[in-house]
Symmetry: C2
Subunit: 567 residues, 2 copies
């Protein structure tokens, strides 16, 4: 039976592009995209993607050439997730919150051949292109195509073509060739750079396909979901749900801005069933003014990731009608790699215990072959005791191909047959993983490991704490000691200045082991964040270093902090 060979009938390379073709065939008349007054069905979306692919092909790009995009969650952004790979090109969605310098360096590093720019980001693109050409005046540079707002055109002109014109130019009879090798690249996503310089993560068709199936399964997203695009598509291709909504024949509710008003309005109007977001969006939803809110008629499933949301926040958001599933992932794993699958036996537990269980990162998605927590010195697995910390390592077909033009980083991240996440966690006796920290965020004080996440969780339970981040501060006696940065919720009078550092410190003393109490608490108007909303701990770490050397640092460092929090 080893002689039976592969043929076109029994071996078709895995690619998410098949999801769109199938959606057009079997869900043709179902609504694929809603964006304000604009609507498409799956037949139209397939048609538009084929035309766009045909237009891209007419530009004579090299195979696997990069197409960069600077756009919010609008229909064009969704269409490009299929049309660009259909044209045998590689999609690179750029974080719109980056500055011109970063955008320019991505365009150069990826050697982008085409650059799509949404009307809202023309200024940013213009500056980026200027920087791009400053460094190399002879460069051909990418061909630029403007995406005007399809629902309310601005008339802005920029680049060679306008998106709609470019779509309509395409041959309606164009049929993309099938992928010949499922290991071919499909997208290129730059990391946000929480701990180091951005790296270009390359996904394969196979990896994208399998991750998509896994996440649908892990989150139990049924047929015909109504999916709200509250998570940027430039974030790991919307955690694969760009492709997943097509696989499920669902409806994409597109959004230009993720304001509380826009989210509530769309959820209520289109009966949204599913959305993904960073935990920071919980704050937006919870702090909405009464006039911005709409009632949520049927429960909305939320998949969230990034920093573990504090239990108190989970409880509050669920009371509004949202049902939160917690996931853990990273760009290199095509988004979520662990999902905190709910166990029906937990339904009997008191709410705070439920929230605690729910805040854990959970179990591996189905297409990951393996997840483990290892002592990296010995490469042995830590015991399943919920206490012993180790580095979380992953293996499987949803792990990236590697970093573009960065052999060193690629080989460093793949060690002994595992992908090293750089995150520190434990395994509970029930097999569920919990992150304790990014490797760099473990504070080692007098030989004791202190998890900054644990401290942050305690801080979040304080009724007035809005944001919290704890980092290591050098300490003459203990080596390191914890330094906490927080921002504060407004009180009923709209003020924040009634909470001071002493209040927080005394709260910490009441709620923490003595060695874990922060040696310093700093209150800021807002914590410095990356473009994807992650707190930039390296910035805070740099500041904390200062605190230890200068005795009277307050005036100086506060100015520094304020400058940063405007980033």
């Amino acid at each position: 039976m080893d002689k039976l060979s592969k043929c076109e009938a029994n071996y078709v390379p895995l690619s998410p592009l098949t999801f769109l073709k199938r959606a057009a065939a079997v869900y043709g008349n179902r609504t694929s995209i809603i964006y304000e007054g604009t609507r498409f069905n799956w037949l139209q979306t397939y048609d538009r993607c084929r035309r766009l692919a045909s237009s891209l092909r007419s530009l004579n790009m090299p195979k696997h050439g990069v197409v960069s995009v600077l756009a919010p969650n609008i229909p064009a952004m969704y269409e490009m997730h299929f049309a660009v790979p259909m044209a045998e090109a590689v999609l690179n969605t750029i974080n719109v919150r980056l500055d011109a310098k970063n955008v320019a360096s991505i365009l150069r590093h990826s050697e982008a051949k085409v650059f799509f720019v949404d009307c809202q980001y023309v200024q940013l693109a213009r500056e980026a292109l200027k920087l791009y050409f400053v460094e190399d005046t002879d460069a051909a540079g990418p061909r630029v195509i403007l995406i005007d707002d399809i629902d309310s055109p601005t008339g802005i002109r920029f680049g060679e073509f306008e998106y709609e014109q470019f779509v309509q130019m395409g041959d309606p009879r164009f049929l993309p060739e099938e992928i010949h090798d499922e290991w071919d690249p499909i997208t290129l996503n730059y990391t946000s750079g929480t701990t180091s310089a951005p790296k270009g993560v390359v996904y394969s068709h196979r990896g994208a396909y399998l991750s998509t199936l896994s996440l649908i399964l892990g989150w139990e997203m049924g047929s015909a979901p109504v999916y709200l695009w509250s998570l940027p598509m430039f974030h790991c291709n919307g955690w694969t749900f760009t492709w997943g909504v097509a696989a499920r024949g669902g409806t994409n509710v597109c959004l230009r801005n993720t304001t509380a008003y826009d989210m509530y309005r769309n959820i209520s109007q289109h009966r949204v069933t599913h959305m993904c977001c960073a935990p920071i969006v919980f704050n937006i939803l919870l702090q909405a003014k009464p006039e911005e809110r709409k009632e949520i008629a049927s429960p909305v499933q939320i998949l969230t990731g990034g920093a573990p949301p504090p239990a108190s926040l989970l409880e509050e958001i669920e009371l509004l009608g949202f049902h939160v599933t917690h996931a853990y992932g990273l760009t290199e794993a095509t988004g979520p790699a662990l999902v905190c699958e709910w166990q029906s036996s937990w339904n009997q537990l008191p709410k705070p215990d439920q929230a605690k269980l729910k805040a854990r990162q959970g179990i591996s998605i189905l297409t990951l072959a393996d997840v483990d927590v290892k002592n990296l010195d010995t490469m042995s697995s830590v015991p399943r005791d919920g206490k012993t910390m180790g580095e979380i390592v992953l293996r499987g077909s949803s792990i990236m191909k590697g970093y573009l033009k960065n052999e060193e980083a690629t080989s460093q991240s793949f060690k002994n047959g595992w992908f090293r996440t750089g995150d520190v966690g434990v395994i509970h006796p029930d097999g569920y993983l919990e992150i304790k920290d990014r490797s760099k965020d473990v504070i080692i004080s007098g030989g004791e490991n202190i998890s900054s996440v644990e401290l942050e969780n305690v801080l979040f339970r304080h009724p007035r704490v809005l944001e919290a981040a704890v980092v290591a501060m050098p300490h003459p006696q203990w080596g390191e000691s914890p330094c906490a940065f927080i921002s504060v919720k407004t009180n009923s009078a709209g003020k924040t200045d009634d909470v001071n550092e002493a209040d927080i410190l005394s709260y910490c003393r009441e709620n923490l082991s003595r060695f874990m109490v922060p040696k310093k608490v700093v209150i800021l108007p807002e914590l410095p964040k990356t473009a994807t909303g992650k707190i930039q701990k390296f910035q805070l770490r740099a500041l904390a270093k200062n605190f230890a050397v200068s005795k009277d640092h307050n005036a100086q460092s506060r100015a520094q902090i304020l400058a940063m929090s405007r980033l």
Copy 2:
């Protein structure tokens, strides 16, 4: 980015074996198997499978050697779906309804190295082995292992080992090697031979893995299902749910016999959520005596395939608390390839219309790259009009590797990049496929194509018809004409002889176009069936041939028919 190469961290061959390993890690304490008084959890199932694999390895089998099994849906049968491929062997589950001659020819054709035999089938196995050695007295023959009933041992002795002893012999520390090539064979399933001699269909690890994910998705089987084994595992590996229940961390409710009493009892006691079966099981459930029934507390999802169940039967079974999803598949496609996905807009329709929609075969599962209905002369797709018939063709990674030692049949079934199902169908405007017939079951009468399935559906709507099959009968004027075979439900007095052929013919005249009315109706106590419960139309066709030549055939052919229906 084409230089980024595969490594152990980012490319792990797809195999359903990973589902079991993961289930043990993350659902370890959940119940994996219930069989009468016997219970295992996923940790124990993983442990037992590893031991069994270790014992199999100790027999020094060649790589990809075949392990044949003759057993009902008992725990051992489930465990072998993982343990045999863990030992780098190929699992061949044999239909227990076959006769000794067929079993012997499968053992010979597959060159089985090991033969597991459940205590209930010792007599059949003994006869089969006798026939096996008659043909080749020098053959080494397979090593034989008896499976005694784990819950109530019989003490029967047969072969070299007893299953439990063989499991316990295994090394508890044995860790199976990972699959190196996902194209490697995992199981071997012989077709039931509705239209031709049985063929050995080989599945790959990749195909089994992807089909499993597709069916979970297509049927929307959520986490932790309680799955009743009413469909034989020897039927396409239980339509992949052997692996699927592990993927979902569910519970397998094993069954030795699928009597109405056993099914109702297990459904009620263990709160079964899902089951698969042939439509014939609906009759068993519907005709259960009051004392055999139990109330069904929460809805049970049923996935059914094979012949399209008549609308009337669907309506009746749903009233009992079952929710039916209809699928279409064949051994060569790893079981179901199309699933009739429910559309919420259908909820508004009257029940009979709903049943009609539900009886269609539906849309392709996600991992099939393509499904089409083609005019095989021109290889062009038929229009989506619900009328124009063509042959159903499939492509994708869930299609078999090919037929074992049968190059001719393999190359015949793979033509022009498609797998040819031999089934005739139409595509409706909404993209849903409906089977009209097996190619051989289309009756061509006076140039008109008559679908025997259509006629059978009309016959099933007659309140007294229990089974119905229509085949072509030679006709001097029209070339062919339809000949109907039926069996009859008992009336309230327990009789069946109050319905005659004339009643059925007059009912047909009222409900069918004239050219479609059967020229002959034959009432039998039971229709002849294959070992998997499919009606053997080729037998009926042979009979129908006689009707056309002999004028007074009744006495002669009735004897022939009665002989057959005891098969």
